[in-house]
Amino acid sequence: LTVPALYIVFPLALVIAAVAVIAYIWATRSGQFDDLDTPGMRMLHDEDDGPSGKSGN
């Protein structure tokens, strides 16, 4: 029978869920959901490629 596997998987699933929730709480408290607009634009810009810059990306 496959049932005994659940004895391990079930608590493990709960632990993983707990970890995810803790990670979420940490992310929220550190302000990652405060501004949802700007980071989406920021990632479009290449990291600094010198003051003169190349055009197009």
Binding site: V3, L6, Y7, F10, A13, L14, A17, A20, V21, Y24, I25, T28, R29, G31, F33, D34, D35, L36, D37, T38, M41, R42, L44, H45, D48, D49, P51, S52, G53, K54, S55, G56, N57
Partner: protein, 814 residues
């Protein structure tokens, strides 16, 4: 002015006026402001800005530089208010930037550190145009940073709402955390519950069977005690005020469901349905979050607008006479400040030097300028129109008249009775009905068996759990409020929509609401030659009426304004005399023209009386010693106003004008709008307006709506059931109002009312669907046809229907 089609400005992309095209130049600009910004950006080596902008295909108008010096940013008092420490020897500030509009702006502003040495970090919150700047005060002054931002086309202002923003941010975060936890619990309980949906689940390994049930119990309990606590807090508050609202049935269903399921789990018998309990918590929290966000957005917009008000005053040094920019907060009683023409007066005080005209509309609502001179009292917020003044400070900040008015606003907002919303009224009866029916079901089935009695009663509570009922209003409102915002109507609270759906009493301010709020040429009696003379003469002088004359003549007068050379001298009391092409002329009030010895014929005398009868200000033009034309100036009624007022009256609205302006003027406006004289009240102080509104609100069963713009309306706006601030209003009225318009025009009121009616229709539809569903499912539960498990599966269907109905609705013309 003609615009050449082909040439586009290299900065903002708008067409360049033909006169400004320079064929040899490498770059073309539509104005000097764009040119300066372009050069500043190029000079800093940040031209990649344009590449990013092109990628975005963005053609909106760019910012202009103001060339301000921002000296006050370096003042100690300014620093105390806005600057905060940011680690070792660093300072930080949040600045509200004008004209941030695309991703390229984010790029440019966040590279400020490359341009200004000493700027450590810049982060922009694009949604609210707030930049957080961290800098080293040893290396660079804040005014330098501000000047640089200005030169890049982003005039900046210190953000005043940092403290409230911090509180709200904490609130937002705990809200999100609650949703997250409730969601995680609900999803996991749901997954576990799938195991029990199998009809053979009783054959499961008994250890696992119990473990699953206990785990579900634990997760649901966690969800109930942590995120679900808000419902109990709400239910308790509603119990104390004896007004049932949605939280009461929710708390009741959750408690009963929890107790019953926990008992079954502990005893190890019967069915459990934790999944529906945790799903209810999760879904309702999302509903609340939506409602919360929608109200927050409008509040934020108002606060940002408030940051635009001037924070600096020009203080005159008593010894040297030097003028220095200081923050208003640094001023003390007895200081002297200089107020230039066009600036608003920053303090309450007495004029010690100079004479000018004052626009006191913000306090009185009067559109006509008031002449002031030495020893006259002036109030903060009023605008100096014509000449430089020096004012001795008597009171600043909250001690000023406008400051006291703001306290009145807060007070009247607090005194306003809370709105009983339709959903809450329904919830009140709903709770009573459901509890009564559950008791009846239990009482009926207990004769069959105890087990069945509890089962059916709990099924009823679960299936009638007011999930859809709780979502019905917020979803319909958020969908409408979002669409209204796109059309320039910002709504702060959802209850506004419900209030406006019924006809009631509409109180309108005159200046700036029914009228444009500025002087214009309304009436003209005489020939065009005199018009050209008037224009040429008034161009030479600085006086508020002169400015109005020039503006409205330039807009309407089609004859070429050829350089008519006039020689003008200005007289005290608002008159002009001069020479044109060798012949003398004189322009001014009838009295002034008579004093100058000019003859006024009967014909012109009648024209003057006609103008006075329309509550306009008459201006006579005399040439060669005889009057030749009469002009009437006033604040004209908006073109669309009569039609809109008539329509609202047809729909059952009672319309009244309450204004601070002269009664004669108010009656004249009322007559044009077809209103009775008793419905047009003038010469009202802000306190009188507040009183009228409070009286109306107290007596009436129908909503009282106040529409206004000035700070003199703010207290009345706050006291009304719905306060509407129109475009261009004082920030005080924006803060007090429930709704404000970002674009001009009275037709917004019409759209607001129509949209509210449509939204209310959607809300009623939603409530109908969810109640109808509850009725059917409830009947089945009472009859014992469905069990708690099936009830838990059925429950989300009504929520889904409500969500779909809300978002498919067409309110606010979208």
């Amino acid at each position: 002015m003609s615009v050449s089609q082909g040439v586009k400005c290299d900065h903002c992309g708008l067409p360049v006026p033909a006169g400004l095209v320079e064929p040899e130049a490498e770059h073309q600009f539509c104005c000097n402001g764009c040119k300066m910004v372009f050069e500043a950006i190029r000079g800093c080596g940040l031209d990649r800005y344009y590449a990013i902008k092109d990628d975005l295909d963005d053609t909106s108008v760019q910012g202009r530089t103001t060339g301000k010096q921002y000296e006050e940013f370096d003042d100690g008092a300014f620093a105390d208010l806005y600057v905060r420490p940011a680690g070792e020897n660093l300072h930080s500030i949040e600045l509200y930037l004008e004209s941030v509009h695309c991703a390229a702006c984010v790029w440019l502003i966040e590279r400020l550190g490359q341009v200004v040495k000493g700027v450590i970090q810049t982060r922009l919150d694009y949604g609210r145009s707030l930049a957080r700047i961290v800098w080293d005060p040893e290396v660079v002054k804040l005014s330098t940073i501000a000047r640089t931002l200005d030169s890049l086309g982003y005039p900046c202002h210190p953000y005043r709402g940092v403290k409230t923003r911090d509180v709200r941010r904490r609130e937002d975060r705990s809200h999100l955390i609650r949703i997250g936890i409730a969601g995680a619990c609900a999803m996991n309980v749901m997954v576990i519950a799938f195991g029990f949906y199998d009809p053979n689940s009783q054959d499961m390994d008994p250890v696992l069977w119990h473990a699953f049930r206990w785990a579900s119990l634990g997760l649901t309990l966690l969800s109930l005690l942590w995120p679900g606590r808000v419902f109990y807090v709400g239910a308790l508050a509603s119990w104390r005020t004896r007004m049932m609202h949605m939280d009461v049935p929710v708390a009741l269903a959750l408690t009963l469901g929890m107790v019953w399921n926990a008992l079954n789990t502990v005893r190890g018998v019967g069915d459990v349905y934790f999944e529906s309990l945790s799903a209810v918590i999760f879904l309702l929290l999302i509903g609340r979050w939506i409602q919360h966000k929608q109200q927050r957005a409008a509040h934020d917009a108002v606060e940002l607008l408030c940051s635009l008000t001037p924070v600096s005053a020009r203080k005159v040094d008593p010894d040297t006479g030097d003028v220095q920019n200081v923050p208003v907060e640094a001023l003390q009683s007895g200081d002297r400040v200089e107020v230039r023409s066009g600036d608003s007066i920053p303090v309450d005080g007495v004029v010690v030097e100079g004479a000018s005209d004052l626009d006191a509309g913000i306090l009185t609502g009067e559109s006509r300028p008031v002449p002031i001179g030495a020893n006259d009292l002036v109030h903060a917020g009023t605008v100096n129109l014509s000449r430089r003044l020096v004012v001795e400070v008597h009171a600043t900040g909250e001690a000023t008249r406008i400051g006291r008015l703001m306290q009145l606003v807060e007070q009247s907002a607090k005194d306003r009775p809370p709105v009983v919303r339709l959903a809450d009224r329904i919830a009140h009866w709903f709770v009573i009905a459901v509890v009564f029916l559950a008791a009846l079901t239990f009482g009926g089935w207990v004769f069959v068996s105890m087990e069945e009695a509890v089962d059916h009663a709990v099924t009823l509570l679960i299936v009638t759990c007011p999930c859809a009922l709780g979502l019905a209003t917020p979803l319909a409102v958020i969908a409408s409020v979002g669409r209204a915002a796109q059309r320039g109507i910002l709504i702060k609270g959802g209850s506004v929509v419900e209030q406006l759906a019924r006809s009631g009493l509409l109180l309108l301010d005159k200046t700036g609401t029914l009228t444009a709020g500025r002087m214009e040429l309304v009436h003209w009696y005489g020939d065009d030659a005199a018009k050209a003379l008037l224009l040429a003469a008034e161009r030479e002088v600085s006086h508020p009426i002169a400015a109005a004359v020039v503006r409205s003549l330039e807009e309407s007068h089609s004859a070429p304004a050829e350089a008519m050379s006039v020689d003008v001298s200005q007289h005290l009391g608002g008159g002009l005399t001069g020479q044109v092409a060798g012949s003398p002329f004189c322009i001014g009030s009838p009295k002034f023209v008579q004093q100058q010895g000019c003859a006024i014929s009967d014909e012109h005398q009648r024209a003057v009386e006609d103008v006075l009868g329309r509550a306009l200000t008459p201006v006579l033009i005399a040439r060669n010693g005889a009057a030749c034309a009469v002009a009437g100036f006033g604040d004209p009624v908006r073109d669309d106003a009569p039609a809109i007022i008539a329509r609202l009256q047809r729909e059952g609205w009672q319309v009244r004008i309450i204004s601070g302006d002269h009664p004669q003027v108010v009656h004249a406006v009322g007559a044009q709008l077809g209103l009775n004289e008793i419905d047009c009240m003038g010469a009202l102080a802000p306190e009188d307006k507040l009183h009228i509104v409070q009286e109306a609100v107290r007596g009436a069963a129908h909503p009282v709506v106040m529409v206004g713009d000035g700070a003199n309306d703010a207290a009345a706006l706050a006291a009304a059931d719905v306060g509407v601030a129109v475009h261009g209003g004082a920030e005080a009225s924006l803060a007090a109002a429930d709704v404000f318009f970002t674009t001009e025009g009275l037709d917004r009121i019409e759209q607001l009312i129509d949209g509210s009616r449509a939204t209310m229709g959607v809300i009623r539809g939603n409530l109908g669907v969810s109640l109808g569903y509850n009725l059917v499912a409830g009947t089945l539960a009472i009859a014992g046809v469905i069990n708690p498990l099936l009830a838990a599966v059925l429950m989300p269907i009504s929520s889904l229907t409500v969500v779909t109905l809300s978002y498919r609705s067409r309110t606010f013309g979208a």
